[in-house]
Amino acid sequence: MKKITKLLAVVLCFALIAAFAACAGKTNNESTAPDASDGASTPDATVNIGDFDFTKTGEFTAENTKFVLGATGPLTGDASSYGISVQKGATLAVEEINAKGGVNGKEIEFVMLDDEADATKAGNAYDQLFEQGMQISLGSVTSGSCEQFASRTAEDGVFAITPSASAANVIAASDTMFRICFGDPDQGVLAAEELTKNYSNIGAIYDNSDPYSSGIYDAFKAKMAELGTEYTEQTFDKENNKDFSTQVEALKDCDVIFMPIYYTQAGLIAKACQAKGVNAVLYGCDGFDGIKGQLEGADVSNKIMYITPFDAAAEDEKTKAFVDAFGGKYDGEIPDQFAADAYDAVYVLATAMEQIGVDNVTVAPDAIGEALVATLTSSSFQYTGVTGGMTWDSTGACTKVPVVVELN
């Protein structure tokens, strides 16, 4: 009995190793082919359209009848409101573009899959999208998922521009990963400068369990140290702390509290401030968008300000048209910055695709990806959308001007 077991085990092991070796040899030869073709593109001041070959058909794109635009995001779970906003904004943009005749005469099909803000699930969703013929992409909505998504795009050369994954790791994970939102550090630096200039007694509270919040806060902290500004720091963990009395108590003497957090927690903190009679200005980042709904019926007297790329109440024509179209499609809903960034991201892709003149809907993802990277990083490319004017550098980061919105 024992001998048989041992023998079987040994045989099995050898079989596996043999299979493994055979297989390793085989795929090695195969993988050299695509590797050679997707060399890293170097940003160039002038993009020559003739440099790119759009006749190449990808492994899964042969049956496409439209350009396939893929994205993943949390459509369920705690972060679902962000994913759903992105879905709405992008769907609206795609419908508008298709109604006007599409890109270079070809329509775009938008597919968004759920990832529950979980990196593993984002990877699975990426696989499904890729095998459905995805050629261009909006990446993922949340930072952790988008890092996973980016690491996959690096394998296949798919171009992605994320509307909202703001962590620095995201665009670092792939050459073809771009973003249209601010980077986390940008907002922290900006807030540090603004607050130092305008207030004397500064407090800050952030969520140490959240990548977005920690990312902004780390940059804020570094900048404050550089500026030599003193401030009071408090943290919480959104899973475990929902009662903010201690933190608010520690910040009660501040004129302003910097809160790089999402609106749900911000609403709770605002209410805790009201209960404790703390009258500081609450200064947030783009995650504050939506805080109004949290404060309905509660008599919070604090002044609330936040940095955002998008103000739905702005008077310029583009914003008005977007807000009207969005409200018309979704029962009068007012778009938030996630929807606005997604809307702009789709238009950026469409504009760039028009510039490179790609009209083959079966084009391989890496071929169009290479061209898009070169286009976006070229110094002549810029786009002005509902979130303002923007340009990109070779890392994939976006430069644009934030606005500060005030609520009373």
């Binding site: 048989i4 297989c23 085989k26 369920t76 529950e116 890092e147 369990s209 959240d210 990312g215």
Partner: protein
């Protein structure tokens, strides 16, 4: 030799065959050059799920203690193993060697924590032990989240060591070989005299102790071994997934592994393998189908699996129905039972009510001053009970 041959039972090898079928399916596809990335990635996830489910089954099904911190051990392995792999990757060229070293390190680190948690496990049992393991899982998560070199809330970015699914050493091959090794170890443990000692502890700890079984050693051993396996699974996870983020290893994930064990059947390794593969596959398949708040349906199904299966398998009143429906009764006539056959199938771990009486008699040690005397305030209710007056 001929006599030995008769000992060979296919039943004992079903688990290898199950895994081999999946593995060969993927291998053949790959050799034909038709293995989509989604499939190879699915198999990696199935592989580490199998490791997690089988090792948790060792604790829950064979030892009979509930651990709610399995994801915590995986967390230790994933963070530490990936961290080591990232550090090594610039020094060692072979990706495979880096993976193997980090697997060993991650596993050992998790095993160490298994030892730390296992020590209190010796003093506690049942609900208390479950709560301690749950608390442990939360502690690990909190600590990993706050360690700056683990990337804080951003998670540990493992882009540097992540396996490219197109490159030569596809991770799923390594993962499946690891599954074979883990299965080999667990199968041999369970079928050895040590395995019988472990199940004896589950069935009646006092009797087992009386038989001279070193209960302390075995409990600790099972805990450490299961933690090691979870750690190894964590390292595979870290090489598959970027970033390694603490939020993945929550209590919910431990429950998901528990659902695999319960669905597959307590103390059934084959069952755990099938259930792990099934649940992993269904999860991915449902991901695209159930969106919006409907996704909660998945968790509703998990909950129902837990409740219905456990009640069905354990409710004393349902025992006759269960007996009537068991495969042995349905197909029993097809094969003869040999005397001395010991079955370790699902369901039989539930204790038989009459046993409790025996245990109580055994556990009541009557020494002077230690006789059974109801507490003072307890005396009144016993006398003045509702049916007394």
């Amino acid at each position: 030799m001929a006599k030995r041959k008769s000992d060979f039972k296919l039943k004992n090898y079903v688990c290898y065959i199950l895994v081999a079928v999946m593995f060969l399916y993927a291998l053949v596809l790959q050799m034909m050059g038709k293995l989509p990335k989604s499939t190879s990635n699915l198999f990696v996830q199935i592989a580490y799920s199998i490791i997690l489910a089988v090792s948790l089954n060792l604790v829950v099904g064979f030892l009979g203690e509930l651990s709610l911190g399995h994801a915590g051990f995986m967390c230790v392995g994933a963070y530490l193993g990936s961290y080591i792999a990232i550090a090594l990757t610039s020094h060692i060229e072979s990706k495979l060697l880096v993976l193997l070293i980090s697997m060993l390190c991650g596993g050992l680190a998790a095993a160490f924590f298994g030892f730390v948690v296992g020590l209190p496990a010796l003093r506690l049992k049942g609900d208390y032990l479950a709560i301690v393991t749950l608390a442990f899982g939360e502690i690990v998560r909190t600590v990993c989240k706050n360690l700056p070199f683990f990337g804080g809330a951003m998670g540990l970015s493992t882009v540097a060591i992540k396996y490219d699914t197109r490159s030569s050493t596809s991770l799923y091959i390594v993962a499946f070989i690891t599954v074979f090794v883990v299965l080999f170890l667990i199968q041999n443990l369970v079928r050895s005299k040590h395995g019988r000692a472990i199940t004896a502890i589950r069935d009646n700890e006092i009797a087992a102790r009386a038989m001279g079984i070193n209960v302390t050693f075995y409990k600790l051993f099972v805990f450490v071994f299961a933690a090691f396996c979870a750690g190894v699974a964590g390292v595979i996870f870290g090489h598959f997934n970027t970033p390694v983020l603490y939020s993945k290893f929550s209590f919910n994930y431990s429950i998901e592994i528990l659902v695999m064990v319960v669905l597959g059947g307590m103390a059934s390794i084959n069952g755990s393998i099938i259930a792990a593969a099934l649940i992993t596959y269904v999860n991915i398949a449902l991901q695209a189908k159930l969106t919006g708040d409907l996704a909660a349906l998945k968790y509703l199904i998990y909950a129902l699996i837990l409740i219905v299966l456990v009640i069905f398998n354990n409710a004393p009143r349902l025992a006759p129905i269960k007996e009537a429906l068991s495969p042995k009764n349905l197909f029993g006539r097809l094969k003869k039972r040999r005397p001395g056959d010991v079955s370790d199938d699902a369901g039989e771990w539930a204790n038989i009510p009459t046993k409790i009486r025996m245990d109580e008699i055994l556990s009541t040690d009557v020494r002077p001053g230690n006789e059974f005397v109801p507490d003072k305030e307890k005396k009144a209710p016993v006398k003045g009970g509702p049916n007394d007056g």
